[in-house]
């Protein structure tokens, strides 16, 4: 099923491509734009991007599978990314991750992003979020939360539930 890219998004993507001397250089930016719009990068979306950038779909798949921030399946409405790199790991990010998973009924041992059956929450371990001085750090969608205690995490979940 071919993907339908709204004309506004296509115009935005064309503007992105025009910033680079070679079309292929815009690949990551274009994928971000598509993922922001569609929520994930389905095969049809990758094929659309490849055609737009005059590349082969395998070139796009390489990028999408290389960068963890690109995803091929949708995530929940609230995407919780818990940092597990050194500072955060030392400051208790594993407890934070476990707590979130337990509260939401998710398998904390499973690999990759885990989403609640109602599609509301996704919890995922990620690498350094560049807030090491205020570990542990997590991101809820685009908002960064620093020095997160278990209580604060629960409050965040409650806030999302209400939202």
């Amino acid at each position: 099923m071919p993907v339908t890219v709204p004309s506004a998004l296509e115009a935005q993507i064309e503007e992105l491509i025009a910033r680079y001397p070679q079309k292929r250089s815009a690949a990551v930016m274009v994928l971000h734009a598509l993922q922001d719009h569609f929520g994930c990068l389905a095969p049809e979306t990758m094929e659309w991007a490849a055609a737009k950038l005059e590349l082969q779909p395998i070139n796009i798949l390489e990028l999408v599978t290389f960068y963890p921030m690109f995803r091929q399946a949708p995530v929940g409405r609230f995407h919780l990314k818990v940092c597990r790199t050194l500072s955060c790991a030392l400051a208790g990010s594993h407890e934070l991750h476990r707590h979130l998973c337990e509260k939401l009924g998710l398998d904390r041992h499973a690999h990759g992003p885990q989403t609640t059956p109602d599609g509301k929450f996704t919890v995922e371990f990620v690498e350094c979020l560049a807030g090491c001085g205020t570990a542990p750090v997590l991101m809820c969608n685009d908002a960064c939360h620093e020095g997160v205690t278990l209580a604060q995490a629960e409050a965040l979940l409650a806030q999302c539930e209400g939202g």
Binding site: P43, L55, Q56, P57, I58, N59, L61, E62, T65, F66, P68
Partner: protein, 575 residues
Amino acid sequence: MSAAAVVTSPAPPSSDTVNVTVDGRTVAVPRLLPDWRGKLVPTTMIQACEQAGVEVPHYCYHAKLPVAGNCRMCLVEYGLPALGPEGQPLRKPDGSLAVKKSPRPAIACATPISPGMEIYTATPEVQQMRASVLEFLLINHPLDCPICDQAGECKLQEYSVEYGHAASRFVETKVHKPKQVDLGPRIMLDDERCILCTRCIRFTRDLAGDDALGIVNRGSYNTLAAYPGRAFDNPYTLNTVDLCPVGALTAKDFRFQMRVWFLKETKSLCTSCGTGCNVLIGSRENRILRYTPRANDAVNVCWLCDHGRLNYRWIGRPDRLRQLAGSRLPAPTWDAALTEVAQRLRHAVPGSVAVVASARLANEELYLIRRLAQHTGAATDIVPRSGPGDAWLIHADKNPNSLGAQRLGISADPAGSRLSQFAAAIGQGTLRTLLVFGEDVTPRGLGPELLDRLECLVVSDILPNRTTERAHVLLPGCAHAEKCGSFTNVHGRVQRFFKAVEPPGGARPEVEFLRELLQRVSGEPQPDTAEGLFHRMAAEVPAFAGLTWAGLGDTGAARPPEAERVRPRADATAG
């Protein structure tokens, strides 16, 4: 100008060469060498080592592919002339240049040489780096050599034996990856064996022009893949199997068929088009198991098209013609058959005999047919064969020896144009004896009813067809893999092929029975080796003047330019 300068530098390096020292031995190597496209680029350490006769182990590097520099197997140590504070070269007390060893190693495949460079490939540090690279490569490797087709010609095996550790220190769990990936119609992939050298990716993208392969996922999960749902299918895919240094890419055709160390390898040629790619025929116990490319920079570099590579099965077909046959065969012996045919030809009215030869026959065979035709006043032609070609190897002329047939005056101009005259002459009853060597003429205007009107139809072939069915004398012949000879490719390069397997049953090489037939018809002895025949042909046919059998070597030869000039007639139509 100072003559002294000349005196103090004993061997002034010419601007086209650079002096480098490899493991203590100084060699002058060209400053520039051709890259994979043939473009002159600065010579690299690995090329300099090669010129010095030192092999640097490598996986990702391949002389005919763009350089990737990803496997690190080719790490070497090196030093450069030491410079003083003013940038002047420092000298040792004995006057020789002082060399400063670099604290870091470099990959030999991607590092250009510079004057006075010293390359060290055998230091304990280099040995240790090689062992470490191998250890990394083997961390997740499945070590399934006992069931791997590459075993015996695997660079991972070979370098592990030569440079690796005897035992693994890895006690953790290996990463598992897809093991039987049906990559395309002719290729099976085992991702666990892949060492991620990207040779296959570069070949497919940069040479075959089909950007079909890539590496997905990250880190130790890196996986060679085609895009899901897209078959890896271009006319040249099987070259990736040759390029793959390990057993990740395997040919479905050869998979699990034979241990490579049991194969006998014979130098031969592909016969599926006029390019005449050089091949090695791998055979065992008289069965052909594979063709692999044989390097020839003037023809196929080191590549083959998939079609040509796989087009060998017919040689072993069970319905091969293996017995003399036909209603005019006085007795089922070659002697009787050839005596009968010779008798017929000797007493034929001039103009009543014609020959249809095949441009799949060797030059030497076509030369014998030419002589036979001269003795009997027979007209000759061949059956042209064309199909799709491309801008790379695959030629539209699907005969391996069209130009040979043309240069020997066997084919009409254009090839095949005399066949309709033959048909008319049979119809009129003037053409009464037809000799057909290696072609089915029935789809070429010489249909069965016409053939039935001949007084004598002599046919030699390899497989049965509607022409062989009607033969009054049927002589079972040989595939090129069963005999020795030469072809002239579409560019005029004369190349040799050798016998890999025995012909089935009573079949005999055409070159043998044509020689015997010619002797009987002409009463003159003929050379009984391919070499002797070739030399007689070269002496007699201007188009082959100046060529010698031995001079053809492994990669063939074109006529020397002076022979080109005395060429009696234009012969450039088979392009």
